[in-house]
Amino acid sequence: MSKVLVADAKKCVGCRICEQWCSMSHFRTGNPKKSRITVTRSHEDYMDYPVVCRQCVDTPCIKACPTKIDALSKDENTGAIIVDEEKCIACKMCIKACPYNAIKVHPSEKYVLICDLCGGDPQCVKYCPENALYFLDREEADKLVAATKEDE
């Protein structure tokens, strides 16, 4: 069974080391706008929120991508959403459909960025110094998300 990514905002300190590894490992450059994971600090509730694709079962992004474009697919091995950069026109339909705000447009190219799970070895999870990011079987992940919700 493929694993999914879960972020626990309560443990996140906002160092953005996850963004740095995502951008460096994919693009060999430091640029948070090219990172698939995005951390936003809120000065209102004194929290940092890491936002990243959660590999939804029902894939609203794939459904939203116009049929004639058909740029998104699910990787059979990892369960990650794969963007065909040639086909994608950055029409933003998937961005609107994503319930987690986890998709963004590449800052200088005409395609969107969605977490590809680094082919099964997520760099952000590996280097998050707080262990605020998990790569878990879906069942465990669901439990964790439910537990966090209860806490709130």
Binding site: I17, N31, Y46, E130
Partner: protein
Amino acid sequence: MTKNGIAGQLLRVNLTTKKITNEQLPLEMFIDYLGGRGLGAFYLDKEVDPKIHGLSPENKLIFFNGPFSGTMVPGNNKINVAFKSPLTNTYSYSLCGGHFGPELKFAGYDGLIIEGKSEEPVYLWIDNDKVEIKSADKLWGQKIADTDHLIKEELNDQKIHVACIGPAGENQVNIACVTSDVFREFGRGGGGAVMGSKNLKAIAVRGSKDVEVADPEGLMELVAGLYPNFKKNPKAQIRRVEGTNELVRGINNAGFMCTKNFSEGTSEANKEFEGSLFREKVVYNDVSCYACPIACGKNSAIVSTKYGAVKLEGPEFETLGLLGTNCGLTNWEDVLHVSAICDALGLDSITAGGCVSLAMECFEKGILTLKDTNGLELSFGNGKAEAELLEMIAYKKGIGADLAEGPAYAAEKWGAPELAMHSKGMTFAVYDPRGAKGMALTYATSPKGAHHMVAPVFGGEMAAGNRFEEKGKETLVRNTQLNFAAVDSLGFCATCQNGFLRADQLKAFKLVTGYELTEEKMLFNAERIFNMERMYNVKNGFARKDDTLPKRFTEEPMAFGESKGQVVDLETLLDNYYAAMGWNNDGVPTEEKLQALGL
């Protein structure tokens, strides 16, 4: 985009003419001046006459990142601002961590020079290449958090990073800071007043450009290998748990923690503020600067106090000491409350604390009466009165207007100059120099007045067990000054040096810039930076006569505690130090020294 870490350009904004220009900045500048603090010294010396008044339109705010800003190099995120200080009349610089510096880099700039003066209140909006001077009509008068919030609403992006001033800066209070991301300050020297004098309320930045490094694979390998060092380093780990307040226990027990305007060096009451109690009683989560695996930042809160709920990032050790123990405060409620007021109004909490403690001692000694204070009972420990005085400083009301000029001015006016605990007009940090003689030298010879981070040697002195000795401190202070001139310029955080040693810093320099910087060259450049800073003040008439400490430290023996009986022999310290620096006995760098440094 060059592949050497730097953006290769600086942005220059003239607020008088509204002219906005980009200037090339070659890598050689980062090799010779290392980065933020060094480039600040270079441009200030080149462009700002040392004799001007700090609040005149000729002054400039010179922001510079180091070469690593925006890369994954851990613990590197500090941006420096250099300016002529209205508080000390000296060269000044101030470093700010957080996320503002890296964002400026992502927008495509290593640095930003603000010059001139706008006629109307304005703010600067830097969106990559698009740079606009916008009206700040709606922002003027707003406190720090509201300013940050309103700008993000107006520009419709929560991920923008904002550096701004509060009412204190607008009112050109000489102890006003520039604040980024609500809780991170370019604290000391009155940069906020300079910004206010230019009618500049804020700088908002958004960037989406690449920061390309020479050897990405090599850098990833080095950085991955560095993370475990931070986890293993005991200093880094205690900072993680207790923040900088881990220092309270050691300094208070050793009897040199500022207490009641430095009239005492320790107190039972200070124990309430020990790091472990800080963590237990008020901290509720940890916050990190960009690329930092330590996260020494702490958010604290008390849900119900006599002032209502208080919530803020901090207070860190210097704020706690100067606003807290030095004003005789004994509980967290008061400390959090006064810290939050400084944050909201944009006051440098360290200098503000030194100002309040001065007024309190004057009040207790009858030099200031209830009539002078408009009925404020300014006794040590009165947190409510302290809060009111802070507001009076920020809005220049009553005796607050005197303190807004600076502690030296106020004490002189009140007829008690010896009670202002300052050097060159800047108040001291927590460490009473009677308890760590190296710190005496650090404070007295600092180019920006009594600031501790120019050479924070107290830890080394304590570890070596020689903190009361004057002998040998010239070498310790000199070496530390040079180390900090280097790491401040490169953009490293001081806490992050615990786990990131110089050999690795030099490796990172090579991997990021492609240039092999030797330790020798790094220290040579650091010495040149430090001498440039000194010379800037010398050109304005500064010399040995200004490298002073208050009489309290040189003549009044510490009354009790583990530093009992100590006074500072400043003249001996200075004699030895000037010789070690290659300066003459009047504290002026010799011709030979300047030539050797290529100045």
